[in-house]
């Protein structure tokens, strides 16, 4: 008998995860700008104030450094905060709290104080929000030992991973994307968790491995369909967890296909794809039949103009072209 399913949008999946975990543990609360009375800038927290009250769904002043730090202190003293950044670009205002406190305290204190906290919110580009609202933060936070970094690409994984993140005893950077909040999907009605640290092979293929995560998955799927028409079978790996990286799943695929392209929304220099590509090189050097190619954001702050914004980011055509070039084929 098949499991009962429900159709949800990404924002509903995230809300269900928060709601279920608030039900499960009294120490879980949500704090951020406009999360309560406004029902969330992107409606992820819609209805939660009404259900849980202002003690557990807490609106803040515009003071990211203050409330992020406050929640770290609360996490050290028995609570399990979920901090919503309206945009992850605002987390830079709280950088001292995230970088010098959240990810270091457990180690620095010799294991005396853990920091079970989730920082979540939209990451990367949206629709023409320009230079200061579009940066991808995963490479920055991924560089800091102590953080777990997650970026689900669909509502199913978003719900399961957010629940796992809230239950983790470590600080988690949980990345979403504004353009994906309306993405619809059938997910189980019953409770489930998605384990942290496990990538997923979402499409099987024998010719080349494509590694990506987050919003780039939809661009990858379009590219795969276009490549299939040319008889190229692409194997697609969705990282889901950026850190800790699930290298075995990637390596297994690369050892089979012998070719690899990594797709990342963020910038190419010191990006996640640089790390993934280098680890593949370290562990699968003899299995590779060509250098690994990267498709990333170009090296500029993200411009406002629509055509320039599109040109700057990875897209179907750039991915197709990278795959062909890696396979030594002409487009």
């Amino acid at each position: 008998m098949s499991k009962p399913m429900q159709e949800v949008e990404m924002r509903d999946a995230l809300r269900q995860a928060i709601d279920e975990e608030m039900e499960r543990s009294k120490g879980v609360y949500l704090m951020g700008e406009e999360v309560a009375e406004y029902n969330g800038a992107y409606k992820v927290s819609k209805g939660l104030l009404e259900k849980w009250g202002p003690e557990r769904v807490v609106d803040t002043p515009i003071a990211e450094n203050g409330f992020a730090g406050l929640c770290i202190g609360a996490a050290m003293t028995g609570l399990r905060p979920i901090v919503e950044f309206m945009s992850f670009n605002f987390s830079f205002v709280a950088a001292d709290q995230l970088i010098s406190n959240a990810c270091k305290i457990y180690y620095m204190s010799g294991g005396r104080f853990s920091v079970p906290i989730v920082f979540r919110g939209p990451n990367g580009a949206a629709a023409q929000v320009s230079c200061q609202h579009s940066h991808c933060v995963e490479a920055i936070y991924g560089n800091l030992p102590g953080f777990i970094v997650l970026f689900p690409s669909n509502p199913h994984d978003a719900k399961g991973l957010l629940k796992a993140a809230i239950r983790s005893n470590n600080p988690v950077i949980f990345l979403e994307n504004e353009l994906d909040y309306g993405m619809k999907m059938q997910i189980p009605t019953e409770e489930y968790l998605t384990p942290i640290g496990e990538a997923k092979m979402v499409r099987e293929g024998k010719d080349i491995t494509l590694v990506s995560y987050g919003r780039m998955l939809s661009h990858c799927m379009q590219a795969i369909d276009a490549l299939a028409k040319r008889g190229i079978q692409v194997e697609l790996i969705d990282l889901r967890t950026i850190k800790p990286l699930d290298l075995p799943t990637i390596a297994q695929s690369v050892r089979k296909t012998h070719f690899c392209v990594v797709v990342e929304e963020g910038h190419i220099f010191t990006g996640i794809s640089a790390e993934v590509g280098f680890q593949i090189q370290e562990h699968c050097f003899d299995d590779l039949d060509a250098p690994i190619y990267r498709v990333c954001q170009r090296e500029t702050p993200l411009p406002y103009a629509r055509n320039m914004e599109i040109e700057s980011q990875p897209n179907k055509d750039r991915i197709v072209s990278a795959v062909l070039r890696t396979l030594h084929l002409r487009s």
Binding site: P61, M76, L79, Q97
Partner: protein
């Protein structure tokens, strides 16, 4: 209130009520207070010389001159139920909240028996109710505010105590914290230990208002008190009062303890920006000496007894040096362990 001018700034000091407290407090407790202040002083003097011998590395910020403040706070407020947070100048508070000199010295030596397994060093010491030892100026103030939030959320008794320096008052994190704590009625006591120097920059070159707490508190609609940080009883009476007030009103309070830093900002700072005479005058108001003199005046203790206590504490600290020297280094094989909590 006692109006007093210190370095040209007019403060309203909270009454000390020395007479009342000497009569009310147990004689043995008062002697124990002196003993603990002597331990702190001895610890830092011995640790300093270990540093000069190259046995202790990194940064080392001495609390010498300020001991009366945190000692009085812990005595007046108590450890249980409360959360304590301080800066990188954290030797005294860690000891007062229960860390043994052995584990503290071993931490300075970078040994596996150290307070934080040799990972934190001088700036990052801990105890069951001490959240740290924080190294970024002002960065711990939101953490303290969160501990107060946590107490309120969990409907627990207790308050959060946050110590910061005068230099931290220039940081945005402090102002965001005061706003949040006042806005949300959080039981947090913020204590600005004003030793007049942010490293080598005098307070009047860094902070636009003096006295700090009396002025700042108005902007955040919270109460403020100023203590003579060199006088244990001014601090004790003050913290006792503030604690009762915070428990009653469930609101934050801002305290300024006017004090002196007997050493440079850190051990590598020769303090060339202040005159020898100024420092000598400051040292004539040594809080441990003054406390001892008061106890003698009230015939609680004799000079011989004080000398004996000094010798005992020196012994305790010498034993901690031996403990640290004899302890093993952390095993490099464990280097990447403990980054994540299970």
């Amino acid at each position: 209130m006692v109006r007093k001018t210190v370095y040209g700034v007019e403060y309203d000091f909270f009454d000390a009520q020395t007479d009342k407290w000497i009569k009310r407090l147990d004689k043995n407790n008062l002697i124990d207070t002196l003993k603990r202040m002597l331990t702190i002083r001895n610890f830092e003097i011995r640790a300093e010389s270990a540093y000069q011998q190259g046995k202790v590395g990194g940064f080392f910020h001495a609390y010498m001159g300020q001991e009366a403040i945190q000692t009085a706070a812990v005595d007046a407020i108590g450890i249980r139920d409360n959360w304590w947070i301080t800066t990188y100048r954290c030797h005294a508070l860690a000891y007062l909240l229960g860390a043994h000199p052995n584990e503290m010295m071993a931490e300075l030596y970078g040994k596996i028996t150290g307070n934080a397994l040799g990972r934190g060093g001088s700036m990052h010491l801990y105890a069951d109710r001490l959240l740290g030892g924080f190294g970024i100026v002002g960065g711990h103030v939101p953490i303290a505010t969160g501990a107060a939030f946590s107490l309120k959320y969990q409907k627990q008794n207790g308050v959060a105590l946050c110590f910061l320096g005068d230099g931290a008052v220039a940081q945005g994190a402090v102002h965001e914290s005061l706003n949040l704590a006042s806005l949300w009625d959080l039981p947090c006591i913020y204590v600005i230990e004003n030793n007049r120097w942010g490293m080598g920059t005098a307070v009047d070159r860094a902070i636009c208002v003096q006295p700090i707490a009396q002025n700042l508190s108005k902007s955040y609609d919270i109460a403020s008190y100023t203590f003579d940080g060199m006088d244990y009883f001014s601090c004790y009476n003050g913290f006792h009062h503030v604690h009762e007030e915070v428990k009653k009103i469930g609101r934050p309070v801002l305290v300024e303890a006017v004090t002196e830093r007997f050493r440079g900002h850190s051990i590598s700072d020769p303090g060339l920006y202040r005159s020898k005479q100024e420092l000598a005058e400051a040292k004539s108001r040594d809080p441990i000496f003054l406390f001892g003199e008061k106890l003698k005046a009230y015939q609680i203790i004799t000079q011989e007894h004080i000398d004996e206590l000094g010798k005992q504490q020196k012994k305790l600290i010498m034993a901690s040096i031996k403990f640290a020297e004899d302890s093993p280094h952390p095993d490099p094989i464990t280097l990447e362990e403990g980054v994540f909590a299970p």
